[in-house]
């Protein structure tokens, strides 16, 4: 009832309707997205999407959530308040990674098989541009100024830095082997790339456009969350069932946490204190306290939770 009142008040006065941030977790084994209310740690809804959903990004205001479905080759667009799919857009043969522009107006989708990134207008839901990138592009991230898009080309061992103004690569940097997840610091000065097959993280200076460091992590790293307050990164290691926590200042590993089998998608909660990790094998989301570096909660999300992208909103 309190929630209803809050929602009613929200309708009248506040642009963002839902109070608590929600985590939108793609469940690849059951073609759904679980919606976790992060205030109560409960799954409050389950939204049916396309086949084998993998990538997910929520708009910053939480009004829209976009999900890639590699096996049905389309994108599900979810209304974040109604928690219903409002559109399904056919894309290429392997839509996988997804990111959103800082103004929530453009959606970027990598295509694993067609070696390009589709740019969609979030208003019209049409593809407005296709950007050729390297082989099997996976993770994507847009810089906070909205000018550049980073693309991890998994089978080229490179990172494309695309100028979104011209739609062309400004630079193509060599990373470790099989780069997958890519994350940009909140300040926009540095990027972190998880290299699956070399089990390390490439740290990239986005001013100089150079790899400035390569940090060893666990086995088969997948994705990364950045903690700007404590200057740390959290890296999911799929084959170790661990989370590597590194100090990005000195580049040392602070802790290696047992997290759950096949940890994959990871995101920092807007509270700046908690990190959410989707553990694929058991379909659980583990919540880590970024201060104490302990797992404080485990939430059963669904079958094959992957959540590859920025899955928490509003943020």
């Amino acid at each position: 009832m309190i929630r209803g009142l809050l929602a009613a008040a929200g309708l009248l006065f506040v642009p963002v309707l839902n109070a608590a941030p929600f985590a939108w977790i793609t469940n690849q084994g059951e073609d759904s997205v679980s919606v976790i209310d992060t205030a109560t740690a409960q799954v409050v809804a389950r939204v049916g999407v396309g086949h084998r959903p993998a990538g997910v990004v929520a708009s910053r205001d939480g009004r829209r959530v976009y999900v890639t479905n590699p096996e049905s080759r389309d994108l599900s667009v979810i209304d974040g308040e109604a928690r219903k799919v409002i559109a399904t857009l056919p894309l290429g043969s392997g839509p996988l990674g997804i990111a959103i522009s800082p103004d929530d107006r453009s959606i970027y989708v990598s295509d694993w098989y067609e070696h390009r990134v589709d740019v969609l207008d979030a208003g019209t839901l049409r593809v407005v541009k296709a950007i050729e990138v390297g082989h099997s592009p996976a993770g994507l991230a847009a810089t906070p100024d909205g000018r550049r898009l980073l693309v991890a080309n998994r089978d080229d061992n490179t990172l494309s830095i695309v100028d979104l103004g011209t739609g062309a690569a400004q630079a193509t940097l060599s990373t470790g082997k099989a780069p997958f997840g890519v994350t940009i610091s909140a300040a926009g000065d540095v990027a972190f790339v998880a290299n699956v097959q070399s089990s390390d993280v490439s740290v990239i200076d986005l001013g100089r456009l150079e790899v400035i460091r390569t940090l060893p992590v666990g086995s088969f790293p997948y994705a990364i969350a950045h903690d700007p307050v404590r200057n740390r990164i959290f890296v999911t290691n799929q084959h170790d069932n661990t989370l590597s926590i590194l100090d990005t200042g000195v580049g040392t590993t602070l802790a290696t946490l047992e997290i759950g089998d096949y940890p994959e998608g990871i995101a920092m909660h807007p509270d700046g204190r908690h990190v959410y990790v989707a553990c694929w094998f058991d379909g659980e989301v583990a919540v880590v306290d970024a201060e104490t570096l302990q797992v404080v909660r485990r939430i059963k999300a669904g079958e094959g939770s992957r959540a590859f992208g920025d899955f928490i909103a509003p943020r």
Partner: protein, 176 residues
């Protein structure tokens, strides 16, 4: 099927960069078997990384250096004659658990890629034990439209056959 394999190999040789792509959706097989024998006895049967050929009829041959040091590579031969190499990634005898990964895919043996397996034994009820076999993998087919024999479903079926045969035989041996 053979023609497809030849074609695949040809593609792999011409463009090695393409060969490492795999299906976008990881698959898993998780199976447990309850055994009316103590956990220590069951672990004794499987604790040697290369003992698999003695308890899994789908894996008639295994060769490896002696011992269970991390990174030991074993070569197994499947019933269909195809060979695979697997690397020991974690070995915890006190927890009766081992983990291993596939070194290189060999679709002619098994249509999978990037396999990771955890094999463990724990105490069950009434002095019995439970063996759990957890494995995760991608299909090996590098493109978006695999033929039926290289599909996700085919990969899952092939792995399931090996898991089921191993657990059933292990139960027989341990309960003898």
């Amino acid at each position: 099927m053979n023609r497809i394999m030849t074609l695949l190999l040809a593609v792999a040789l011409l463009a090695p960069a393409v060969a490492s792509a795999h299906g976008p959706s990881r698959q898993k097989v998780v199976k447990e078997v309850q055994i009316n024998a103590p956990a220590a006895k069951v672990w004794g049967l499987i604790q040697d990384f290369c003992s698999i050929s003695s308890w899994n009829p789908e894996v008639p041959e295994c060769t490896a250096p002696a011992g269970n040091a991390l990174d030991t590579v074993r070569t197994i031969k499947l019933k269909n004659g195809g060979a695979l190499q697997e690397r020991l990634a974690k070995y915890q005898p006190e927890a009766m658990t081992m983990q291993y990964t596939l070194v290189e895919p060999n679709p002619e043996a098994l249509p999978i890629n990037t396999l990771g397996t955890t094999l463990s034994v724990r105490e069950g009820e009434g002095g019995g034990s439970i063996v759990e076999w957890k494995t995760a993998f991608y299909r090996s087919f590098p493109g978006p439209t695999p033929p039926p024999e290289l599909s996700d479903e085919a990969a899952v079926a092939a792995v399931t056959r090996i898991v089921d045969a191993g657990l059933a035989r292990l139960k027989e041996l341990a309960e003898q």
